[in-house]
Amino acid sequence: MAFNTNQRLKDHFHETQIFNRRVLVAGLIIFFLLVVLLSRLVFLQITNQQHYATLSENNRVSIRPIAPTRGLIFDRNGVLLAQNLPSFTLEIIPEHVHDLNKTLKDLSQLISISKEDLKHFHKNRRKKRRFEGIPLRFRLNEEEVARVSVQQNKLPGVIIKAQLSRHYPQGKLAAHAVGYVSRINERELRKLNASNYSATTHIGKVGVERTYEDILHGKVGFKRVETNAQGRVLHTLSRTLPVSGKNLYLNLDTKVQAIAEQGLKENNGALVAIDPRNGAVLAMVSMPVYDPNLFIHGISSKNYKELSTSPERPLFNRALRGQYPPGSTIKPFIGLAGLEIKNMQSRKKIDCPGWYMLKNDERRYRDWKKHGHKKTDLLKAITESCDVYFYDLAFKLGIDNISSFLAHFGLGQKTGIDLRGELSGINPSRKWKKRNRNMRWFHGETLIIGIGQGYMLTTPLQLAHATAAISMMGQRFKPRMLYAIQDERNSPLIATQTLPLKNIPVNDEKNWKTILSAMKNVVHGLHGTARGISYNLQYTMAGKTGTAQVFGIAQDAEYKKEEIAKKLQDHALFIGFAPYENPRIAVALIVENGGHGGSAAAPIVRKVMDQYLLNQAKEKLTPEKNTHGESAQ
């Protein structure tokens, strides 16, 4: 075949013609393809330029949130309760590390690195990018920081990052009141304003930290940064600074709080002190207490287990949530009800043989004093805490009268304090029993309400609130933790409004005097149940002791046998206020299984009042920092 074709003659002209035609066709195809290319480029660069410019801008610029600094918390005198301290975290940037294993080994010789730390580190390492720091150790102390810093040039890729983290300089003091912050959990995350919390890792969980989260948190800031494809920030384009959270000044007085906590010592219990003139909570104690600093960086499971399973229940805020029978501390209130509702003569005496009996009931209701108080009027009944007198009075009043009168003092209702989780106690009535127990009311149950037992339960906060109300002869204020808000350090304090509640209506103002003088007699009278604390008392105090039989919150089946004896002892209670003439402090205290109110509770209250009234004689209501001296209180 090959030689056949070779024999054909080459026709140069024809070949050139074919070639030129083909080149022309190729040229046309090239032209056509160029038009296709150009129209695509016109489409991209001219028609849709805006669209692609936007995409490119979005690619390049990203918005990074900047966390605001959380507001500080002070007590009424400017003592710091919650602050933000630089906390040092050791991070490793894998990109800069030559030999990770060696680096980790070197580091472990400088600072302690636990297996758990390493586990978290390796877990994180898989999630993060090579130029991002991966935390290895949190909360380095100054010495550890120094040791690593000295070696830093030999440890490339190891950085120590300082960030602010919450710290409670007073430790356990007032922990229940102040509360704590901890890592935001998923449930909270769903409820939060995602944008404002985009840089925030911690949130107030309990106490004031929780209630005033919005004020303390502040407003998030943003920076627009240019990033490359891996998300590495190259530089900042613009910045909107965050607005720091506001500082809070609490009504709490740290010294009073400390005295109260020391007073309770090893005992469980709770104390609430209120300024009756405005509802300011001067002290809120719940013992035992915990260290809030444990929660900030994630409490270790061992610590948490210890706290949450301890039979003493240190995480439980007894002042707010502990519901105790008020015992004899209810008597002044019942007494007032008698004067008001039954127009009872305070001078009228009844006979107290040491027991009380209802008609058609064989049961004897005993007085705490075996042989009775003999002839007893209201003054004596309160001063000496005669049970029989109040069995009789309660019976005469009837449960519904008692219940509706006590409701004026806020019993059976939440006080509305600015803390979450408050419980309302029980102020029983026929209706209450029908609804909750589905049973009719028995007369005998009315009798023991007269001495603050039975169904009646109150929280220490309610008792303090009611005591404040009685001391002010019916004037009531909502209890407040928060005293003032400060926009930033050194700016003036803006005091919060006091919140007056409905006054307690009385028919005769004299009835107040009657009850109050009886309460004064409890402390100052010759036979007063709290006369023990009147020695050397430099002001006049009024009060009422109480001893409640234990069926309260301390009842717990898990108690060990040897502890039962202690745990079945009565709760000791005391309510009181001072100075008598011009009350500035009202206190309610319960000492769980403390025994008698007069001996176990009253002395602690005296110490608290001494601290508040005497040691701070020069005490100003407005903290020194309040430059323009305004105060709504």
Binding site: I30, L41, L44, L55, S56
Partner: protein
Amino acid sequence: MNPQSGLSPMDFREENRLSTGRRLLYRFHIDLPLWIGIMLLAAMGMVVLYSAGNQSLELLNRQFVRLFIAFIVMIAVAQIHPNTLKRWAPWIFGIGLLMLIAVLIFGEVSKGAQRWLNLGLFRFQPSELMKIAVPVMAAWYLAEVPLPPRRGRLFIATIIVIVPTLLIAKQPDLGTSLLIASSGFFVLLLAGLGWKLILGVITLMAASAPLFWNYLLHDYQRQRILTFINPETDPLGSGYHIIQSTIAIGSGGIYGKGWLNGTQSHLDFLPERSTDFVFAVFSEEFGFLGILLLLALYIAVISRGIIIAVNAQDTFSRLVAGSLTLTFFVYVFVNIGMVSGILPVVGLPLPLISYGGTSMVTIMAAFGVLMSIQTHRKLVSA
């Protein structure tokens, strides 16, 4: 060029009319218009690479060295008389074919493909040699007979093209095998391949596409084509290149973001930005007007190549020059088409602009062949 001289051999009179400088260039067998076009494109390439390489002088330096080597190769090739090339054609082709087979057996694997032959002193990519050897061989084979060629000759010529194409596709190197197939096809086309046959082959290829898809393509090649059809299906994976490069081109607009100001390029959003995707950097920074200038330069170079082909004195030279020039256009078209998202991603550089050595040398060698064809003309008739 004097229109009267037309296709006639250039005589000494004509040479005398040229300036001294151009005469000197002719001595060294350098075609001035082609050379200027190449140099302008290479210069533009350096400008873009300076930006694409984040102002790395080192990168620029290496590109410059390559360019210089490629330039030497071009001059060297230009000294070879087309007749010599024609004599060598079967030998070059034969050696190239053997080396392709050697690559498949002993070749070095790099980035998942077996393309390199280690010759001790340096590594060598035989497929690059074939970019020139295949059209030269096909032209040699067809130029022996009067054109248009008959069926038998066409069949053998087709085999000459298809065997190296398949060997290279097997490496796998889809881009190069595509180039080699088209360079061979261009020889056949310019030799006067019948239109009916061309249509028939296209129909046959379309019909055999599913076979091709299932048995010849590698997974990653199939993925590339799928991604090309809809890049959004895998925006972070294989679609990422195309999405980011169209953003870069589109955001450039008419005037561009300015030299060194391309955000897509400088913030690492654009992958392969100094090699295959350099056109995206160029478009982002210089905009549509810049593209028009770039395309104008390419068209000038291609036009000059076609003029050289048309002016060539014998069939062999004509076919070789025409095929190499059209292949150069395929380079440009496929690269820009892929970067702007109208063609699937095949790994082809933008000629004379993209960073990278091997293909640069081959392209310049091809220009050397063109220059040789142009500047050896007077001797043909003499």
